[in-house]
Assembly symmetry: C2
Homo-oligomer: 145 residues x 2
């Protein structure tokens, strides 16, 4: 039996935050907007309607929990949630904290400009804050981060 593997493009653009029951949680390495990505640890899943019904409910619950945590942490004006996947087909859910003075408000973040990587010290602080707010530990393979 093959194991779930995170798409290499998702992995290249993000920091691993940790895992809920079904989804891996990633932080997009883009300082323009706090941006989480949830990836259900299921093989070959591209559309939410393809997931088992039980998984669908868990993916929703985890999306809601992460959205609320991101809102609490950032005090943002609006949470944007999306499952697009036109380029990276592995099902992944964007949760983005938006503010009315951010670089593309009120337009979408997808396809807009270039990522601005976080400054390294800030990344560590942010990851710790996120884990606290999301109530998760880093995954075993990422403990050194």
């Amino acid at each position: 039996m093959s194991e779930f593997e995170l798409d290499s493009r998702l992995s290249a653009d993000t920091f691993p935050v940790g895992s809920y029951n079904v989804c891996k949680i990633l932080l997009m390495n883009d300082a323009r907007w706090p941006w989480l990505i949830l990836v259900p640890k299921r093989i070959g899943l591209e559309e939410i309607y393809q997931a088992e019904e039980e998984d669908q409910a868990k993916i929703l619950a985890e999306t809601v929990k992460a959205s609320q945590a991101l809102k609490n942490l950032t005090g943002c004006d609006k949470i944007n949630i999306a499952a697009i996947g036109n380029i990276v087909r592995q099902l992944h859910i964007h949760i983005v904290a938006r503010n009315d003075d951010d670089p593309n408000w009120p337009g979408p973040v997808w396809g807009f400009g270039e990522r601005q990587p976080y400054e390294e010290t800030y990344t560590r602080i942010l990851l710790n804050k996120l884990r606290e707010e999301l109530s998760i530990e880093p995954d075993f393979e990422n403990r050194c981060r």
Copy 2:
């Protein structure tokens, strides 16, 4: 007690398709891409995490059902789902059928170019097809459409 009212901008840009248990279903009047909008008939709801837990599950189930129906009807390459709401704050969920030869593939549909209204005869045919695929009747107030 006040009644649920559809935001006037959503109403202006769409055709009413019908209703599921919790959500009104609208067809965006934009011939560039088949585009449904689901609006939970709840007052003052802006973020999915603000909905009652039972409603959250129903909104998800209805989103999944509508996505599957849109995929079946269009045979599209990818379904894009999003709750953004930076401009219209009333919670509404976009479900868009995307194809790799559409006008902004693989970029997002939001904020891209101008809507291209459907030709009238085609609208009627499409609405009927959609109602068939979604297994819904027009809402009472839209029976004449």
